[in-house]
Amino acid sequence: MLEKRIINILRDIVGKEYVSTEKTDRICYSYDATQQQFYPDVIVRPADAEQISLILKMANAENIPVYPRGAGSGFTGGSVPTQGGIALVLTRLDRILRIDQDNLIAEVEPGVITASLQKAVEEVGLFYPPDPASLKFSTIGGNVAECAGGPRCVKYGVTKDYVLGMQVVTPQGDVIRTGGETMKGVVGYDLTKLMVGSEGTLGVITKIVLKLLPKPEAKKTMLVMFDSIDGAARTVSNIIRGKIIPTTLEFMDATALECVRQNADLDIPESARAVLIIEVDGDRELLERQAARILEIAAPLGVVHTSIAASDEESEQLWQVRRSVSPSLRKVNPDKYNEDICVPRSKLPDMIRAIEAISNNLGIPIVNFGHAGDGNIHVNIMVDRSIDGHEEKAEIAIREIFAKTLELGGTMSGEHGVGTSKAPYIPMELDSATVVYMKAIKRALDPKNILNPGKIFLEDL
């Protein structure tokens, strides 16, 4: 528990009403979407970089851990206050500072909800593509800190491809600027790229300059059912090899289809063992040609049925099939381990086959769906923790899946980050020299290890 003196300093910095040590608040800021809970000692909601700077300086002097937090919707424990201390809630910094239509950029504060930003830029005919599933409630600051992805990233890339610059409060409380507002810029180290995906361990982001695109004129959504997962996976590889980059290339395997079959508006025939949802966007006249070419590629690979949306409403209906997977997973088993591996796109069929084999060997269901277009698969290992041996089997499955992923040249996390959930597996992917290099950076910038300690790296720095 923090001394009264510390609490008073915090109150002086941000104002009394923005500091809380109430038990109810400590409970409510203890978790994220991993459901692990660690109570912070105090919740502080600063208004700007200046206040954050003072907080970090004090935390350094007093050796208090600080855990930056947006919406708390991460999947790997990135914002969870594992060692108590200060939960630094950044949602008051929620202004869209400007949308510059001459230069196609936006400057925002980290607490802006991603969907609000997208709505605002789309109103003036612009486009911010990254679309994590949580976009209606997650913050842009959290998206940047974790380098969030989403279905549209196949064509448009992930969060890091849109961050031009930022204002950051360093772990020791200095306010720095990284990058800038220009499309090019090579003066000094690329600290922007270093900060994106650093999971709140290297600084607190207080302003972000984002690149925007012109909003595509139209889109076309198709749902293609296959008689085998292999056919679907090969279609993905062939589309990419055919030099077509759709906006999204989402897939669902047979187990995922089974989960949604009853509730879907769409008739899913028994012979369908996998589904691809393919969307293309751009100029209207180009779309038809692109869509036809994609269906042509899929045709010989065991297509059972194809639906093409004729309206936005029908497109929404097709997407609903994909979106209803996650919530219905509980039909398979009550507990899930959710991994987000990413493999080179051509290796997708191999990876899917390997996961199927692992699932069969261990006798536990594994449901796969996700962003096939960029090789990013959401692997859901479904277990029942109340059954003896299930937890151990899940652990074995995770290790075997990661091993296979790495063997195929992939990575164990495409967009969720490491946080606490994947920290134990870091040595599988990164060699010790690389880990030493990363830790050297963290140690140099945060010698007292007060900013989001206990994340990414398990052992002490």
Partner: protein, 433 residues
């Protein structure tokens, strides 16, 4: 006597919350307050902590639990359909049991459980209202003259009706012999404050030749008591309504208040099979009329020139598919009005029953958002399907210094039925049987 489930019975559902944060995108109160303790997953965590004895029922926790409009958005949008609304009501019942009801909650429960007391109070209230209230301009309500606990002084509330609806109508109004018997559950607000809505319901039902039953023994739906944490009182009301509404074998039971509808169809199901059967039978009046093809009939009325622009506010308790479209269908079919778009039409009005009494400041902020949408629209009239929303929206409009009038869809329906063949169809031979 029937009894609601204890919070302990929700352990399994509590575990189904995966803390994904979806509720943050949909909770109207959270958008204003920005405190995690307000949003569904926060309340679920607090409920878990309470049941695991990690936290006590202290003032702060009780206040957090009170910050809910019972609008149900978090439940509808939850990927795992965790029944946070029921869980909050169960928590409030526990608070009521262990800490006692608030003075206001006690008042609400006491009055609503005793129709004679309610009748007396409303009569007295009307008699002395000139003493207690002053009229605000444009006949849009009353405002308190003196400060009083729980009701903010600048709040406008509707006038009390000269005569309660149920007292001014016979219990049974005969229609065509071959037509169904429809039981009308009025609810308290229509009975005592806005009887013109009830008149609208009768006009519509009579134009279809329905036989109408308005049971004298019906009471409050029980939702206010339930929201205040008075589980016993609410269950008592539910039992009484069960008896009153099932005494005659009606073909349909209709409500014209979205909150009563939600109370009767949702919140008393668990009390037993009879309660569940009653819940299955209750229909919203708009849904019922559309089912009966009434909108088609309205479409046949001669169109009027220069129809008045009307916006529709969606009550939180009428957002389910099926219920959501019916009022709009009726409005679109009316000859004298033109249904116009209104920004934030689906946003909560901010009343949330007792919520607005305890948290009038947040309630007003939610209202301000509505006012903005109404101001920016062409609407001269805001129609809705819930007397509670009507009260709150009129208060909001009065505060914003705007001139729009708020009314119930059925009032507009009744106005358009007047002096038409459809409206006259059965009125003349309406008689006591």
């Amino acid at each position: 006597m029937s009894k609601h489930k204890d919070i302990e019975a929700y352990r399994k559902q509590l575990r189904e919350c995966v803390k994904c944060g979806t509720c943050r995108a949909h909770c109207p109160v959270f958008k204003q307050v920005q405190s995690e303790a307000v949003v569904a997953r926060g309340k679920i965590s607090l409920a878990e902590a309470l049941m695991n004895d990690e936290i006590e029922l202290d003032r702060r926790l009780i206040s957090d639990i009170s910050q809910c409009l019972a609008c149900g958005r978090c439940v509808r949008k939850c990927p795992n359909q965790v029944p946070t609304d029921e869980i909050i009501l169960a928590l409030r019942r526990r608070i009521g049991r262990e800490k006692g009801l608030t003075l206001f909650g006690r008042g609400v429960s006491t009055v609503l459980q005793r129709p004679w007391l309610m009748n007396l109070l409303t009569r007295l209230g009307r008699m002395f209202s000139w003493l207690v209230f002053r009229k605000v301009p444009q006949n849009s309500g009353l405002r308190l003259r003196f400060p009083s606990p729980y009701i903010s002084r600048d709040r406008t509330i509707p006038e009390i009706a000269p005569r309660a609806f149920r007292q001014s109508h016979p219990e049974f109004i005969a229609g065509d012999e071959d037509k169904p018997l429809v039981t009308f559950f009025t609810g308290c607000m229509i009975n005592h404050m806005l009887p013109e809505i009830g008149d609208g319901v009768l006009a519509a039902l009579q134009s279809l030749g329905m036989n109408i039953l308005i049971p004298k023994d019906q009471g409050c739906c029980g939702l206010p008591a339930l929201c205040a944490g008075d589980g016993k009182g609410a269950a008592c009301l539910a039992d009484r309504n069960l008896e009153a509404l099932t005494a005659h074998k009606a073909d349909f039971i209709v409500t014209a208040c979205a909150s009563c509808h939600s109370g009767l169809t949702k919140h008393f199901r668990d009390l037993g099979p009879d309660h569940a059967a009653l819940a299955d039978k209750v229909m919203d009046i708009h849904e019922f009329l559309v089912d009966q093809g009434f909108d088609e009939k309205l479409l046949q009325l001669p169109r009027q020139e220069n129809p008045q622009p009307v916006g529709y506010h969606v009550p939180c308790h009428l957002r389910e598919p099926g219920l959501k479209e019916a009022p709009r269908k009726l409005l679109s079919a009316l000859p004298s009005i033109r249904l116009v778009d209104m920004k934030h039409a689906g946003a909560c009005c901010g009343l949330g029953g007792t919520f607005s009494v305890y948290h009038y400041d947040i309630s007003k902020k939610l209202g301000a958002l509505k006012a903005e949408g109404i101001r920016d629209s062409e609407a001269e009239i805001v129609a809705t399907a819930c007397p509670g929303c009507i009260m709150q929206l009129q208060d909001t409009i009065n505060h914003a210094g705007m001139s729009q009038q708020v009314c119930h869809v059925l009032e507009l329906v009744a106005a358009d039925l007047k002096n038409t063949d459809l409206g006259q169809a059965n009125r003349t031979d309406a008689k006591l049987r």
